[in-house]
Amino acid sequence: MLDRLYPGTYRYVVEHDQLRVLALDHLPIGSPAGSGSPEVYVLEGALYTDWETVYQVNVVKVYRLMFARVGNRPDAEDLTSEVFVKSLPNLTLPSTVSQVHAYINAAARSVLADHWRRHYGEPQADIEVDNISRPFDLTPAVDDSDRAGRILSLLPDRSRRILELRFLRGCSIKQAANEMGVSPGNAKILQYRALRLAAEVGERMLS
């Protein structure tokens, strides 16, 4: 079917149970290459020839990248818009997929670093470069949930419990305190310590 949509030479790669299509010659990129199958994309050697396709192919991936870093919809939406507004004026079409992704990738890093610096005073944003470079990876988003689950499972009981109550069950701090039989003040302290422990565990998992 793909050959009928975009005549050319392809190499097929299966990663993370998803089919990637690497075009071996330059051809316009579609969104996605296999109509009706969001898991099949032309990734390499292809050309973006119009702005709408650049946006359509990448917007959800950039949004998810931003959401994974800021954890809330309003900020993720603003930052995603900013990435496109920042990167598109620097692009000239037609451009190869890898060139376009490099621009968007650089804009994503810069926008995220600026977000943490501007709103929380972080002097030198420590953006996880390996993860930032994966906005166009088709790894299912469920990986983030799996990783969070693994981190929680490695925490001491009370730390895991407070974070589960807050993030998985959506309990208020008072409700979480009630569930754990502690005062709201103690629940806040437990939560703060648990988050820092979770960060440490996450770091160890990456190293």
Binding site: F67, N72, P74, E77, S81, V85, S145, L195, G202
Partner: protein
């Protein structure tokens, strides 16, 4: 004045309610907690799906931006290119 523990609790509360978190100057230790909280919030099942309204809005914004850039390039091709490269 709020303590770090209170700021982090307020930040988490905003994340859980999917509100824009309040802003404050964070210490490096607090920043570690903020980022962990953001990552845990993002890992909630199904939380990372963008809304259709947002996708359409960004599409309109991109159209405006691109339109303005192309118009500028047509008017001043050399200057526009130099300005963009700085």
């Amino acid at each position: 004045m709020r303590s770090p523990v209170d700021w982090i609790a307020a930040f988490v509360e905003d994340l859980i309610r999917n509100r824009r978190p309040r802003r404050f100057k964070a210490s490096p230790e607090e920043m570690v907690a903020l980022r962990a909280a953001a990552a845990l919030s993002a890992a909630r099942p199904g939380a990372n799906r963008p809304s259709r309204r947002f996708i359409d809005q960004v599409c309109a914004d991109v159209d405006l931006t691109v339109g303005a850039v192309l118009a500028e390039r047509r008017r001043h091709p050399v200057e526009a290119r130099e300005r963009m490269s700085t």
